[in-house]
Amino acid sequence: MEIRTDIRTDELADMPEDLRAEMEITSKSRRDFMKVTGMAAMGAVIAGCTAQDITVKPMLRKPEGVTPGVPYEYASTCQMCSANCGTWMKVRDGRPMKAEGNRDHPQNQGGLCTLGQAQLWNLYNPDRLHGPWAKEAPEGWDEADARQQWASLDAAVAGALKAGSVRLLTGTVNGPAARAVIQQFCDKTGAKHVAYDACSAWPIAAAHRDTHGSARIPHYRFDNAEVVVSFDADFLGNWISPVEFARQWAKHRDLRFGKKSMSRHIQFESRLSTTGACADERFRVRNAERGAVLADIANRLGGNFGEPGKHAVPAADLERIVKELRTAGRLGLVVSGSHDVKQQRLINWINDKLGAYGSTIELEPYSQQKLGNDEALNALVKELESGAVKTLVLWGVNPVFDLPNGAKFKELLAKVPNKIAISHHADETASECDWIAAEDDANEGWNDFEPIRGLHTLAQPTVRRLWDTRGALQSLLKWAGDNEGARDYRAFLQGFWEKNILAGMAWATAVALGVRDRREPTAAPAFKGAGDVSGVGSVAAGDGFEIVTFESYNLGDGKHAGNGWLQEMPDPLVRASWTNFAAMSPITMANKGLEEGDLVEVKAGEATCKAPVVRMPGAAEDVVVLPLGYGRTHAGRIVHGMGEESEAVDPDRKSIGDNAYPLSVAGFGSVTKVGSYHRLALIQTHDSQEGRPLAKDTALELWKQDQHSGNHHEIPPVDVTLWKRWEYKGHKWGMVVDLNLCTGCNACMMACQVENNVPIVGKDEVWRRREMHWIRIDRYFEDTRNADGKGIQDGNQTTLENPEVVFQPMMCQHCENAPCETVCPVIATSHSDEGLNIQTYNRCIGTRYCANNCPYKVRRFNWFNYKHRDLTMNLVLNPDLTVRSQGVMEKCSMCAQRIYDGKRTSALHKTKPKDGQILTACQQTCPTQAIVFGDQNDKDSVVAKLGRDPRNYAVIAEINTRPAVTYLTKVRNRPAKPHEKAELEKSHAHGHDGHDH
């Protein structure tokens, strides 16, 4: 471009002489004049600004020991599921901001699952009940006066309880004081207490009643097990106590820090679960055949349980597994999620035969995480049928939704004269009741738990009640006539604990720790014999598809369907969000002429469920897999207005997906295509790595020969860069993710979402690939071969029968040679001298060049302003980082706010952050501790040590991005496959030059 040089700087030069004289402005004075007007303009700017006053209202009295802007952690107990892990709730300026696992808690040891991380949505959810609810407002009901409403409700309930024949239906209640309250309520009102779990583990308890004389669920010890054989027990997903089990399991799977051995994990299952995906060997066994496989194993172990029916597992494999179990002996463990009591008895027999009781299975102290009793529930339903129940009190359960015969329960409920619910929501069941005593959120009240016998934990309020709700136990005490306990439940709880539990510990200490561990070794009941296992080896026959249902990984048993974070969290395996699905093996799909996105109706008898078909390689053939928990209609606004899916299922229905509970006991049914359904919100649509080494794996056998096995680079990076090499003189932050330990549980995704103000975008936007998660877990089906030696590639999708799975957490890799930094026209993304790739939101103009140039696809663009539709939800936002607005790019910052916080804390003592002092949100919550963050410049840091591990590699290192995030090769404890051996030999032939160190 030509630069003009003829621009006149003195525009007065051409002015007529007379005018010029009149104005009498010399060039000097004109400059002064411009100064004056310039100041005026500045004045105008200032005037414009001062129009926006920001007010600040300090407290009248500052609570002692609380400083504004400083977060405090309070020990509490997670109540999202009945596993009841210990938490530390981070509270800042009076509001809970983030839940973290309690690192001193013997159960979860710092880990927390997706649900636990998402609990704050439930707290701030504006859709929960704000006060007591009456189906028909009685006379004098004052909409504005909650006190009057509670009085009105309590009076009505007192009347109803006098009617006699009271039943109290709850979920698992394991807290000692909570159980005392229930006892008090039952004594006072003559009520009978019945507990059930929507996703029940009762068959395990029932089997132990028969084989050991005591109905209890044992406390499993995966940390003692060297051979784990699981039959449909999803213990890394959501079975009984998943975080605890994952941590225990990981202990024997960890090959870091010089460990050389791994446990063996063999999974027999009908669907593909996260646990199965992490197993060393996995066999596809339909539910109908499970008993036959079990009987076959038991027979081979020396039992005589009849001729097993025909099943899919080759005899040679079974023989091998039995041999391994026999060798492991008391270090073996067989678990099952089976709902067949006979099968569970057989499991007990096998475990007893191995000597596992007392070693990998503890019957004392035992688990109290699922106390539901299906038999008692069935008895209650019978009573309801006979009309014997006059008053039914329901607490925290939703049987109309989550019983297989929920519709019938609804009819029976209508016939009960007095129905009272204690609930957070006017859910499907509570809205059928006369009264709802609106329940406090878990974070608003005191409570206690005993997840494992003798392990007593406390939950304390971390926020003042947001609305006019009341603790469930307070309600029960009130109705039992204990006004004092109802008024001040903390005092009741403290009194109870001081009398029965603390045993010398100060109350304040117990509150601070959150745990009073009084587990003691006591004599466990002995095995008495397998009992009735007749016909356990037979294979049930049925027509059409076998229907397999499972507790959804994100919605729990359906309780959390109103939680937007959880709805947007994709299923770890089929990678669908905001939807239920009918998953099946691609081979079955091909045989039945079904395609992904077809809307099918699964039908068994009267029960139906409509869902879109998704692919689940690894599911047994002719099996349709349905998640439980979808189809809630009364779960707040989150399940409404998500539009298309609900309309496709049923135009009159406002729910996400269809309820699969009615099919949960069906066994067999039909699958019919009823339409097509294109807008399937899949977060990942490509299953294969296309032979590229992104998520690497190897076999233990080969790894023992050569620790670089599986990690040989075919293409070494060419170290060329446009820029001067970075020098990291102080810290150089980095992260190492051990693929061997990642179970794909999504907890890191949720922790990141809560910590970093990551918005949800809704189904339609996810369908447009516009999800905002800063960290995602890629799930790849391994490109290995089928039994017939053929690998089938159908377009992008693998159609393997039983592919191996590898999970890979993928977040910003914080490249040293970052492709994004080079292309940003406004330097909104830059490199820090501590090795981080920084995104500066206030500088970003949204060109999206960076996202286009990112080879890892980890940058997220704000296509809209994702505002909370209710301001209450804004309370969940982390005040330590920006809430991004429309048109801005964002991505993982490696929790920059935590790094600076850690550095600041250390600098106060003139030190540097110690290794392990700064924990990123994803690392902190990881149940298996697969993620390690630290300073790579510190040679002794864990992250630096793991950087030198032969398994360490960077993803697509060949393009020389030099990421700060590296991975450790997954090692499978199974015999090496021929192609793996061949690859290792090939790399040896080429020498070791290509290693990525």
Binding site: S29, V45, G48, L60, G69, T840, R843, V883, Q897, A907
Partner: protein, 196 residues
Amino acid sequence: MNAKLAILFLMLTIGTAMPVLLGIRDTFDVQLANLHTGYQPEQPIPYSHRLHAGYLNIDCQYCHTAADQSRHAGVPNLQTCMNCHNTVKGNTTESKERIALLASKFADGTGVEWKKVHNNPDFVYFNHMTHVRIAKNGEGFTCQECHGPMENEGVAHQQNILSMGWCVNCHRTWNEEYKKQGWEPAAPLNCDACHR
């Protein structure tokens, strides 16, 4: 003549610039960051720093207690005021009225809604504790180094521009000094030190 013309131009400029700037601000919801120098909002009670911090020589952190512990320096809670004003009732009509207003707002629990004088934009994460306790190798800055001599003024106003250039210049200048003295950690110049 000159002066008249100047005034005319001044008014014209203000007349055109004001609506344009206000328009820009309101339309795009832009916060015109860090140009608040001189901002002195009218406070519900015209508290004088000169009297308290200057004449009475009360330490800044007697009231702004969180300055050495938190991101925020903290606006004092009313109990802090009442520590003295339970007995100090004022000696002029005006001061008696003001103290009585304060006492009544404390007694009836309504509290006082102060106007915030120093407002960083939402995307700036300034931390008081770092500057008060960690900077200068632990010596820390005095409040006056950023806020100016508050002890000399009546109702508080913003004395320094507090713009990004102002912050960064200080960080750069001090880093030179840090280098000379061999202190650690240096004042960071990474974007994420303030923007995240």
